[in-house]
Amino acid sequence: MIIAERKPIKEILSFLGPGEKILVLGCGTCVTVCMSGGEKEARELSSLLRLKGWETKDLTVERQCEPEFNLRAREEIAKVDAIVSLACGVGVQALAECFPEKKIFPGLNTTFMGMPKEQGLWEERCWGCGNCIVHLFGYVCPVTRCAKSLLNGPCGGSKNGKCEVKPDRDCAWQLIYDRLKKENRLEVLYALQPPRDWSTSRYGGQRKMIREDVRL
């Protein structure tokens, strides 16, 4: 799922002009589950803005990344001057495409695609490089979890299982080694990984998926 975190309040406040009517629009999918942009947070933020003297409303739609849901909120949106969207970057843009004339501000910083490790702890797991190879590395993605995306073994900076770039993170290659050792499949590491074709990842420019068979 997509993980995002709230922008600093100061930044959000700086967006808003005095005396504007404001709608805080939450998104009911990923950011709800990662507790940064759901109904709860929307209400909270609108309440905070009220305390700062703005006139606010709050609303939450199922998914801001889909015009159909956004358009449902059109009456509410028509009433206000500005919208603070508590959705990932996709949601904000989708919203902006639905309501070209409105002032729309992002309330969140979209951080990564990841999973909840435990209550209140989320970790990145996928980069969306467009060419999945986790099966070769004991199901630990070196592209995402190695700071240097190394595919042929660790760098010299792997110290007692931790990464040298971010010392509080585990070294991906340590994890890979441990996992494969447990399965005693260490031999798969002998296979040499050729240089990757990164064109499938975002280096190849904006990505697009077309499926002729489902377009009517």
Binding site: V33, E39, K40, E41, E118
Partner: protein, 468 residues
């Protein structure tokens, strides 16, 4: 027309004029009774107001009262008697009126206070000690010996045991104890085979005579139970008095807090046992040349003098620390049970592990435990069924509730796989509701709207209190 009942307490009784006024203005029918002459049938009233100190009318109490009266707990409202003291007579009556109006305005939901009684059967893990078995039998609790391979799942307040499929009301975990000793001994010392534990000594002392031998005890300060101290005092005394042996007891602290323990300690001392308070970090041991004994070197706390004693036997009392018990492998419930350790929380039952129905049994506490469990299994608990509800439309299945519920009352069930609250386990703490990011969970009668409306009511310019 609303039929209201007031249960007043001796601290305050309602002025008649006010009651008439209320009945005239708001069209209520108010009956005032006190705890002495309670009505037989409570179901006829729309609301039951209690004027009592909220200190004793906790959520649990109200539940059990409404269970007793067979009324919807949402109908029972407590007006704190302390309030009367604080704001009487000034604005008291007007606030009282507001209070009634506010509580009448709150919607009623079909909630039932029910007493749930667990099965009178317990499962003991990892194994059943004879002492525990005996005391459980004495109190008429049947026990299940766990089959070689089994799994557990929550079944209302009970736990269901698979594959056999029968329910148990409670699980007792008699935790394994790790015996550790604060100081380590070199292998050569252990080779003398004169390094023994107190059980060994207990057996030996019946068999043989320790005439003219020297015996040393080493007793750490932590994790040694009262019973073991007793044993040590007793053994050392018999060794001296019966066998004329020479006995040293090396300790950091002597424990005498216990029924007549001090007496026994003094008896042991007066019989000629030598107690030395020593610093264990400075305690050294090595085998004698003939390998028939151990030389113990220590510095007493009195005069920091080093001295050396040659002992023929060195008796050790290890520290016992409870090892956490992992329930996860046995559990096929939704929530992964973590390690079970005793809770240091005086507000819950002693021996309570943090999960309702799972008890811990520390050694030498079997009898107390069986008392507690007997109570739990016979009286059961009163729960308000249908109080907490999950809005399946809103639930996004983020599992926050599952991870935050302290009572493990959340189940992920139903063909649509949504969170569901197990009413028999729910304590109405509302943690799930307050953490749920999608606002899917509502604890009936305790929703945000009530509070905020209630906040806007209440006394002016003085301390005043309300129960929500």
């Amino acid at each position: 027309m609303n039929k209201l009942l007031w249960l007043e307490n001796e601290a305050f009784s309602f002025p008649d004029f006010w009651i008439e006024e209320m009945e005239r203005d708001n069209g209520w029918k108010i009956e005032v009774k006190n705890w002495g002459n309670k009505p037989d049938n409570f179901t006829e009233y729309d609301r039951i107001f209690i004027l009592g100190d909220s200190f004793s009318f906790t959520q649990e109490k109200i539940s059990s009262l409404s269970e007793e009266w067979e009324v919807n707990p949402l109908k029972v409202r407590v007006f704190p008697a302390e309030e009367v003291k604080i704001i009487f007579p000034k604005s008291f009556l007007s606030i009282l009126e507001k209070f009634i109006i506010q509580s009448l305005s709150q919607p009623l939901f079909p909630v039932e206070a029910r007493r749930v009684v667990p099965e009178n059967r317990v499962l003991v893990l990892p194994q059943l000690s004879p002492a525990l078995e005996q005391t459980l039998k004495k109190r008429g609790i049947d026990t299940i010996v766990p089959p070689s391979s089994f799994s557990l799942q929550r079944e209302g307040i009970n736990f269901r045991l698979y594959p056999s499929g029968d329910n148990v009301g409670a699980i007792i975990i008699s935790p394994l104890e790790e015996k550790k000793f604060p100081i380590s001994f070199s292998s050569s010392v252990q080779d003398t085979r004169k390094l023994v534990d107190i059980e060994f000594m207990e057996k030996e002392i019946e068999k043989r005579d320790f005439r003219k031998e020297t015996i040393g005890f080493i007793i750490p300060k932590k994790g040694v139970t009262e019973k073991e101290w007793r044993k040590a005092f007793h053994l050392s005394q018999t060794l001296v008095e019966r066998d004329k042996a020479e006995v040293f007891i090396l300790v950091e602290e002597v424990l005498v807090a216990g029924e007549n323990l001090e007496k026994e300690y003094r008896k042991a001392r007066s019989s000629g046992v030598i107690f030395e308070k020593v610093d264990f970090s400075k305690l050294g041991t090595r085998p004698t040349l003939d390998m028939r004994g151990i030389e113990v070197e220590f510095a007493t706390e009195r005069d920091k003098l080093k001295r050396e004693v040659k002992v023929d036997w060195l008796v050790l009392l290890p520290e016992r620390n409870i090892l956490p018990f992992k329930l996860a492998p046995f559990f096929c419930g939704d929530k992964i049970e973590g390690e079970i350790l005793p809770l240091e929380n005086p507000n819950v039952l002693p021996f309570f592990s943090g999960i309702e129905g799972i008890f811990l049994c520390p050694s030498e506490k079997e009898d107390e435990l069986s008392l507690v469990i007997k109570k739990y299994l016979t009286e059961g608990v009163v729960r308000e069924i249908g109080r907490g509800e999950v809005d399946e439309e809103k639930c996004v299945l983020c599992l926050t509730c599952l991870r935050t519920c302290p009572w493990e009352a959340i189940e992920i069930e139903g063909e649509r796989k949504k969170a569901r609250i197990n009413g028999e386990r729910c304590h109405l703490c509302g943690l799930c509701a307050s953490f749920c990011p999608a606002h899917a969970i509502e604890i009936k009668g305790l929703s945000l709207e009530n509070w905020v409306s209630a906040v806007s009511l209440g006394g002016k310019n003085e301390s005043s209190s309300f129960r929500l």
